[in-house]
Amino acid sequence: MTAGVARTPGGWSALPALLLAGALLGGWEGYADLGGVQEQVLPAPHAVAAALWNNASLVFHNFTVTAEEVVLGLALALGAGLALAVALHLSPPLRRAVYPLAVGSQAVPVPVIGVLLVFWWGFGIFPKLVVIALICFFPVLVTTVDGLAAVDPDQPKLLRTLDASRWQAFRFAELPAALPAALSGARIALAVGVIGAFIAETSTPTTAAYAGLGREIITDAGGFQTARAYAATAVLIAFAVACFYALALAQRRLAPWAVPSRGDTR
């Protein structure tokens, strides 16, 4: 009975990650201090930390802007991706019609349509959410369509002999079967969602006082404020990692049957 209880990582499970990050930072510090690179080209970690400390308020405000974009954009992508996946699963003709378009949508360089999106929806947050969703919905769509199709075909048959309707067969068999795959898609979406927010901010004009970390990084990198650009980037990275693990935790909660008993890859 205890065999299936998911093992939660103990206090030491973060150690390898911390050791590796520490070693990389140390190497970087040594190279930046002794390698003869200018600070405008590669700031040392201590200079980045100082820039973060000195510009904490600016970076924080831009972070809240970007974080809101990522979270809402991802929610939009999840909603659209899941709904479209279910529709494509239930209707093979629709799948044949829509799938090539969905793949093609991933090849569109966002700045091409940035102006159009602003023309439609103004300078607010919504055009940015659309850009993020456009970039993020695809992994959710593909993993969910595959997850729905991978259901054991005997399971719906069994449910039919128990007099289940199509909807009930979907709800009891296909939907839960696809959930782990959909959540994996969400984790991939999140990883590209942060860079999606960067693309969204830099490809749609804005009038806001704080335009987000992406805008700040572009401005700083162009204005020889390299250390501040690195500081903003460090915040983006930390945010992406935190969100990724939050989703992994959600996966554990929502689909405990799909968590491998050796859960140390998460």
């Binding site: 009975m1 065999a3 299936g4 054991d152 005997d154 399971q155 048959k157 069994l158 449910l159 039919r160 002999t161 128990l162 007099d163 289940a164 309707s165 009930q168 009891f172 068999a173 839960p176 079967a177 959930l179 689909a255 049957w257």
Partner: protein, 262 residues
């Protein structure tokens, strides 16, 4: 318990409600093989099963036994012959097909939930039978935490709770080891002695068929035809070593082998 469940059963339009719950006449079924060639799964099968009777269908692998059950459960239509009468039937498939995202109680309670009862109500319903079927203490276990025998018990309970009068069991113990299988055969005999249902048991184990069933039908290799019908007139509980059982086994094996030599 069982009467309450039975009352929900809606007789199908094919079912006249007579004493014989299943009447098949000359039923045959073909399907397209992988290379487009036609495979005959069943040929000219005529069967009658009375209410409360347990019929065992014995035959070599691939003789269309599972196809026969699919026809009885309405999952497939015969290409030849007719289903003259068939009460509502539920299938217990060869693989238990428990849903990994539901615990044992939810898996067993699937039929009442599909019939529109609330989750809590359905679980209470199933929980009443858990003790009786030797499943007490495993209510919250997920399928992967259960042994093969326990999984079959949950799958059987799920089948039972559908409330349908006819149970179609497709090699229910085929995947179990010999010791567990012997336990499960006793368990099934005891359970069915309490829950009066009409049962069609498909198996390739002749001994299992004789220990459990009232009557035996022996099918030939594909396309499956009825080559022998044997009444099992032996007092229950039956022992493997009972001379009546062993002599029936010889007759059944003889019928199986005789056909293979032809």
């Amino acid at each position: 318990m069982s009467t309450q469940l039975q009352s929900r059963v809606q007789p199908s339009h094919r079912w006249a409600g007579e004493r014989e719950e299943i009447v098949l006449e000359g039923v045959g079924r073909r399907y397209r093989g992988r290379r487009g060639t036609e495979v005959r799964a069943l040929s000219d099968v005529s069967l009658r099963v009375g209410r409360g009777e347990m019929l065992a269908v014995v035959g070599p692998s691939g003789c269309g036994k599972s196809t026969l059950l699919e026809i009885l459960c309405g999952l497939a239509q015969p290409d030849e012959g007719r289903v003259l009468s068939c009460a509502p039937a539920v299938l217990m498939p060869q693989r238990d097909l428990l849903l990994p995202w539901l615990d044992a109680l939810d898996n067993a309670a699937l039929a009442p939930r599909i019939a529109g009862h609330s989750r809590a109500q359905s679980r209470r319903h199933a929980a009443l039978l858990f003790e009786e079927l030797g499943l007490a203490g495993f209510e919250h276990a997920r399928p992967h935490e259960l042994s093969g025998g326990m999984r079959q018990r949950v799958a059987f309970l799920r089948t039972l709770l559908s409330g349908k009068p006819v149970l179609c069991l497709d090699e229910p113990f085929g995947a179990l080891d010999a010791i567990t299988r012997a336990d499960m055969q006793e368990w099934l005999a005891a359970t069915l002695a309490r829950e009066q249902r009409t049962v069609v048991l498909v198996t390739h184990d002749v001994e299992e068929a004789i220990l459990l069933a009232d009557r035996l039908v022996v099918l030939s290799p594909r396309p499956g035809r009825v080559v022998a019908e044997l009444d099992v007139d032996v007092q229950r509980p039956r022992a493997r070593t009972d001379p009546a059982v062993t002599s029936l086994r010889e007759r059944a094996l003889d019928a199986l082998g005789r056909d293979q030599r032809r």
